[in-house]
Each structure stands twice: as C-alpha cells, then as structure tokens.
C-alpha cells in the first residue's frame, strides 16, 4: 500500500469520527439541498436541461482543436494574448515571468480551482509577489494556510465561530460571529488590495469560442473588481472549458447556478474578451489567457472516459457523495476532491499515487444522479478500478481472496452452503463476545460499529418461502 493511500485512510478515519465536523457539513449541505429544492421548480424540464448541457459540452469536447483555435483567434484579434501550457510548471512560469517583467507587487485572485491545480500562489509568492485570495471562502482558508475544502465552498468545514476567532486573531476588530459582520470585515480587509494590485488573476467557467470571451461566474463581485481595476488580467483555464457559442450560456449559466448553489442565476455572470477597448473608460491594459493541458489531452484520448472533460466544476457530486460528507474534502489531498476528483485525479496526475481514490466510493450512483452534464461518474470510478487492477500488481491476499470468492459464488449450492457456514460462525463469534477480535472476519466494520444481528434465515431461503422454492 502506498503512503498516499495510508494517509488517506488515516485522515478519513480521523474525520469520520469527528462528530462536530459531520454536523457542520450536514448543516451546510442541508442549506444547499433546500436551495436546490426551491430553485429546481423553475425548470419545467430539468432532465431536458441536463441533456442540452451535455450536448453542448459533447460538441465542444469532441471538436476541441477547432473551438480552441476559434477562441484564440478572437482573443488575439482584440489584442489579448493566449498561452498554451502543456504542464502546470509551464503555466506557473508564464504567469510568474509576466509578473516579474511588469514589476507586479500585488496580485488579487478570484476563486479558481485550476490555479490551485498549477500551484500558482506559492509560485508567485516565491517571486516576492503578495497574493490576495479575494473570494470570501478562499480568503478564509488562505488565512488558515490550508487548501480549499470544497471546490465551490472552500471554507465549508468551518463554523462562523471558528471564522470569527480566525479573523479576530489575524485581522482584529471583530465583535460578533454574525456572518454579515464577518463578510464586512473581509470586504474591508480586501478593499485596498483591489485598488493597488497591478495584476488580477481569475479562472474561467467557460471559454466562448465564437466571441473569444471568457465567462466568469461569481456572486461576491470580487472576480469583477479583480478583472476591472488592475492593469493586467490573467485568466487561467483548462482546455476543456471551451464551448461553441455565446448562446450556449443561456442554458449553461442557470444550470451551473442551480447545481453549484441552488440559485436561479449567480449574481454576476461576466464575459471578458480582451483588454480595455479604445472607447472604454476602464479595464486592464493587458489580457492574457493561459490554456492548460496538464493531462487533459491524455484523458481526451480515452474514449471511454472522455466525457469526464464535460465537467463544469459545480461541486454537486461532492455534496451528494456519502463518502465526501463523511471523510471531508481535505482527506483526499487532491485539488479536486469527491467523486469527480476520484475520477479525474488518477487520470490527470497518473502514476500510483492516487490509485486508492476510485475505491473511496460506495458506487451508490448519487453523483451520477445529480451531475448537471450527466457524466456517468460511478461507472467511471468502476472503470478506474478496473484499469488499476489490470495495470498494477495487487496484493497476494486480495488476489487469492477474489479467486476464492469467484469459486464460491460460481455454484448456487456451494454459495448456499458456505453462507450457512458463515452465518453460523459469525453468530458463534458474536455470542462469545469476540467481535472486533482477530477471529472476527468483519472486524474492520465491528471495530467502530455494533455487530449486526445475524438473521436466522438467508435471503435465498426467504425468497424461496415467498415465491415458491425452485
């Protein structure tokens, strides 16, 4: 077992036993679920909306070269720059070099998972640049010096009391733990940075090919200030973010808003196509788009999993996932946690390090049910498992175990006999009070749970009694 896998199990075990964490997450997701419930009724046909979004992304991803070139052409025609980065390191380097060349001292960032993926903040900080995360949730986790917990709600794991204590310690002047006041404190702390920063860095929710514009969805307005006031704007986006037409947003914007936060539309849906135009009163002098591959073209080549590139990063699958809700976002130790992260990460980052992630799922399919672009997430988790088992040498115990299982279940009589033995043995073990001991084959469950009551009759017997034995 690799170290990363052991780390995951350890972090997951600690978080699972943390009842306060569980309460915080449950409350936050209950808020989210109620908002979804209210807003989904605005769609006459939610299923049709999902299909439409899937079609838009399918068209784009399956003609990726054409749409990216169209996008690039329009951005350049307006005086913007487009840089294609093969790896995280290239993307980081391009932005850090630009900052150094333009003597940038301060950067204001809006929330962007792809900048987390490329490790942009530490790279800029090494160059002596001050970087401010300006999304409230990101600002909070930056003050705590930890990665975002959730791709949509970075500080989901924290209560208002913890945030108030953090602000009191780092910023001062906090009287209560009222979210309204805490938001005002963060606004005040960041206001100056917006007006002094020389560079604003954003992500992009979509790249619109036919107009050469990036589409940026935010609620707070931080993304708007950061792309309006500084003299340089750098947008970083994965190559899979491109969509064919501006009209596609009429469907994608409401679907993203619903799935991400249960809103009919986010507060600000911004489109930016270049630097300040000749007749415009404001806007940056320079506009750069960094298109990131970083493993995406490899995933594109995998026809079975290509549709994972349809993901719009709404976070709905995280909220729906019983594993995410229990082990928490930090246990994954990846940029993208939860079901979509467990599909993406082993593909994008390769190697052995993340091979345990597809197994961190009950395969219940809740993620697939909520995905707004209908990615078959739980089957992709299963595909990843298959690929991993095929490619890597599994532990001998596991291989023998599965061989035995296969032998046992291939004959109905054998299966019935062995399950009878199993029930008798378990009942005896639990009667002797040996649950959780080395003799208990269920010990990984019974270590932290009461042993289950072993039923008198097997499912097969009950079925036979009810429907007539065969």
């Amino acid at each position: 077992m690799s170290t990363a896998a052991q780390e995951f199990l350890r972090a997951a075990a600690i978080r699972s036993a943390d009842l306060r964490h569980r309460r915080t997450i449950r409350q936050a997701i209950d808020h989210y679920d109620r908002a979804i419930e209210r807003t989904r009724s605005r769609f006459d046909d939610w299923e049709a909306a999902r299909l439409r979004c899937r079609e838009i992304k399918r068209e784009a991803v399956n003609h990726l070269d054409r749409y990216l070139l169209e996008f690039e052409g329009h951005v350049r025609a307006r005086g913007g720059h487009v840089f294609w980065a093969e790896t995280s390191a290239e993307a980081r380097q391009y932005i850090a070099d630009l900052a150094a060349r333009r003597r940038v001292l301060t950067v204001v960032k809006s929330k962007s998972m792809v900048t987390e993926e490329i490790g942009l903040r530490p790279a800029l900080e090494r160059g002596g640049v001050r970087v401010f995360e300006t999304d409230l949730g990101e600002f909070i986790v930056q003050l705590r010096n930890e990665p975002p917990y959730h791709i949509m709600t970075p500080a989901m794991h924290l209560t208002r009391t913890e945030i108030a204590d953090l602000f009191r310690e780092k910023l001062g002047g906090v009287a209560s733990d009222d979210p309204q006041e805490l938001t005002a404190v963060a606004r005040g702390a960041l206001r100056g940075a917006f007006f002094t920063a020389e560079m604003g860095v954003s992500g992009a929710n979509f790249l619109v090919a036919d107009t050469g514009m990036i589409a940026l969805t935010t609620n707070e307005g931080n993304g708007r200030l950061g792309t309006s006031l500084p003299r340089i704007h750098v947008a970083v986006a994965g190559i899979e973010k491109v969509i064919p037409r501006i009209e596609d947003l009429a469907m994608l914007w409401p679907v993203l808003a619903l799935s991400a936060s249960g809103q009919p539309l986010a507060c600000y849906n911004t489109l930016i196509g270049g630097p300040r135009g000749p007749d415009e009163p404001d806007g940056p002098e320079e506009f750069h788009v960094v298109l990131l591959d970083n493993g995406r073209s490899e995933l594109l080549a995998d026809v079975e999993q290509r549709e994972v590139l349809h993901c719009i990063r709404c976070g709905a699958c995280l909220n729906a996932c019983p594993v995410f809700r229990t082990v928490g976002g930090h246990a994954y130790a990846t940029t993208y946690p939860g079901p979509v992260g467990s599909v993406l990460t082993p593909n994008l980052r390769g190697g052995e390090r993340f091979q345990h992630l597809p197994f961190a799922s009950s395969l219940c399919g809740a993620c697939t049910d909520v995905c707004p672009v209908k990615i078959d997430l739980h089957h992709h988790l299963l595909h990843n498992r298959r690929n991993i088992v095929r490619s890597a040498k599994r532990p001998t115990s596991e291989r023998i175990g599965f061989k035995l299982w296969r032998w046992a279940m291939m004959s109905p009589e054998r299966f019935a006999f062995l399950s009878l033995l199993g029930r008798l043995a378990l009942r005896a073990i639990y009667r002797l009070g040996l649950e959780g001991s080395m003799l208990d084959p269920m010990r990984s469950w019974t270590k932290v749970h009461a042993p289950p009551r072993i039923p008198e009759k097997s499912f097969r017997t009950l079925w036979g009694e009810k429907h007539g034995a065969k």
């Binding site: 294609w84 999304d135 938001t183 609620n219 200030l225 190559i239 501006i246 196509g273 404001d282």
Partner: protein, 230 residues
Amino acid sequence: MERNSEDARNPGRERILARIRRALREPRPRPSESGTAGAIFAAVPDVVGRFQKECAGNNTECVVVPDMRRAPRAVAQVLASVPAGEIFVQDAPALRRMEPAWQEVRNVQWSSEGRASESSMATITLAETLVAQTGSIFVSAACGGRGASVVSPVHIVVATTEQLVPDLDAAFARLRESGAAAKNSFLCLITGSSRTADIEKIIVMGAHGPRRLVVVLALSSSWLPLTAEP
C-alpha cells in the same frame, strides 16, 4: 507578425493541438438519449410583471414609472437616500438630459472623464437589455465601463420596457443583433445585488459589489426627447 512571434515563444501550442487531434481520431459514440425538443423553461407571458416579481426575490429595487419623463425624478428620489458624495454617471445623451434633476445636490463625474472612482457613492448607467425570467440586467463596457456597475455601493439602472425581453435566449438574440459582444470587451449579466454564502452556506448580502441595485423602468418605449422638459 505578432502571431508568429507569439507562437514561436510557445512551442507547447502545436504539441497540445497535435495531441488533441490524435486523441480525437477515435470518435466517441453518440449517447443513445439526446436532447428533447420540449420546453425547458415555461414561457413568460407578462414580462413587466415577471421582471418586478423576480427583482423582489433577488434583492433588486424596481421602480416603475409611466414614461421616461418621470425617470429623472425617480432617480433623484433614490439619490436622496444615498449619503453625500460624488456620483458616477455613464456619459449617454439620455442621462445627460436627466442631469438637471440631480446636479444641484450632487457632484457628477461622467464616464467620458475617466473610470468610476473608489469614492463614488452611487453610479447611474443604462443597460443593454433586461431579462424578465430571472430579473437580470445585461450591461456592457459601453454602460460606463467595467467598474460602473461594481465599485460603488449603489448602482442605478435606467431602462425602458422596450429593452425588456422574456428570457436568456431572447437576451442573447438581442446581443447578437446589436453586435454587443463584438463591440465591447466586457459584458455582464447582473442578477440581484452582491452576495456570498461562504459562511455556513448562509446568504449574506453585500460582499464586494453594490449593496443596492435599483432599476428605474419606464413603461413606454420612447426615451426622453431633447426638447421636452417636464
């Protein structure tokens, strides 16, 4: 020239494109179920009524006036509740004509004189189009620039019902027609006033953008004529 030199400094571009083309040689089979032809959203018959209802729900103040002649007074009334200080106004003929209604009490900075300043107490702009279904306002760089609708605590939009369309599809059709995406480096669909739900997923109004968003909506399609003063 520019293009060639830029590409030369970016060898990754050709390699990424080559990988994409190689990957796409094997097409993905179409999924069996495809998009239905049915309506995803219900039609919006009463656009003005729907716009008002949505505004009430998303924390936008909607002030309906019978015609553009009444708009200056409505704007002045909103300004009366805004603390003293400079206001920033989009330099458009329609708004120039309204200036007499507030010039005595306010120092006005026009968008033609520069960007919206950090200290402006309110901004007044026009819009590209309004969307009834979601109570949204589409603005562009032409509407006083990128900052006009975000830096000050109050944003007042002056519009007519002629600009009001039922839904987002219709709004994008309007933008296509007017060429707004080609003419502007910036467009923004604004729905309600700035907010966040980053603390315990509880909605808090007034994050970095305006705390108040006001739409003064004239029920007639005609703009204030140059000669007629109320």
